[in-house]
Symmetry: C2
Subunit: 167 residues, 2 copies
DNA sequence: CCATATAGTCAAGATACTTGACGATATTCG
DNA sequence: CGAATATCGTCAAGTATCTTGACTATATGG
């Protein structure tokens, strides 16, 4: 089944961008597969990213928009989908007649717990695979990279909107 | 303009999947921006990913499909776009009446050179940012992860093109 | 009260994929 | 040889994600 690429020794990419992409895709595929296996078939990457920004206690939709680097319309569409799946619900904000509160349903909270568990399992597998030391180095480098990216800005708050991104 | 997120100290994601995604996206954005700045306005992330698999000497479309983890139809659509932009051209394969050869045009080769230069520049910036040692550790860990993935999954023939090289 | 900003929605479209169906060519094998 | 089968590329249609523009409803600050 495996192709005999060896015969030609193709030079496949090995620069940092490719490696990051490759690793990121692999993680996402593993996570999504595990979530689907856990019965959360509605799970997608974009939704995962959004859910990561919704606190257990709920959040105002406008606040959600601020911290997710994508357009409010995109978020709305994602929320529409999640609401239809019964993961979150939207209630009117008693504090503001314009606003809405986004909250997990019970089903959503269960999914959240499974998500945390799956993440830990994947992380454990990663450590098994490459060793604790290497894994720590990986995380350190990735964190440093992320921090360095915003080193230009001192304001911690200003950073949040940018770094948080949608995922 | 700056939001006061500090007051709540939101716990932003910090697991390995998030970090990988974040780093991958940042790299791609940086690369695409630099390419567009270099006059290659047709450049997008998806196209970049595909172009990375096309050798200077050209490649059979079917071979391209094998090593790109997406469907052949998606690749075809990307190639359609690249062909329309004049980056690649498709010629009939003299060896196989069904097949086609995908080759860079002169314009495509120029873009490729710029791409290599940009990659090196980004890598240099990364090293400046987090230090040579950390960067080396990052690459080592990512390579190890990719290599370990092959051993871990065997039902993954579909992405053979992606992982085979890791040995 | 009025001007303006904010919260959310609706609509349309672009990009990057997917699956399914299909015709044309190659290969294998009775 | 010729028929079954596999491969190569294409066409068509649909999904997921994200965009911009236009709009309504509510809030806020002179």
């Amino acid at each position: 089944m495996v192709k005999e690429l060896d015969e030609k020794t193709e030079e496949l990419p090995d620069h940092v961008g490719w490696r990051l992409w490759q690793a990121s895709r692999a993680w996402q595929a593993e996570f999504a597969a595990a979530m689907r296996a856990a019965g959360h078939g509605w799970f997608t990457e974009a939704r995962a990213g959004l859910l990561g920004h919704i606190e257990r206690s709920g959040i105002r939709q406008s606040a959600l928009i601020e911290r997710s680097a994508i357009s409010k319309q995109a978020i709305q569409q994602l929320l529409d989908g999640l609401e239809a799946e019964g993961i979150v619900e939207r209630l009117p904000d008693p504090q503001d007649g314009r606003g809405k509160l986004v909250r997990y349903t019970r089903k959503g909270l269960a999914a959240l717990r499974d998500g945390d568990r799956v993440k830990m399992e994947i992380e454990r597998r990663y450590v098994d695979r490459i060793g604790e030391e290497r894994f720590t180095a990986l995380m350190g480098a990735l964190r440093a990279l992320a921090a360095g990216k915003v080193a230009a800005m001192d304001e911690d708050a200003g950073v949040a909107g940018e770094v948080v991104e949608s995922k």
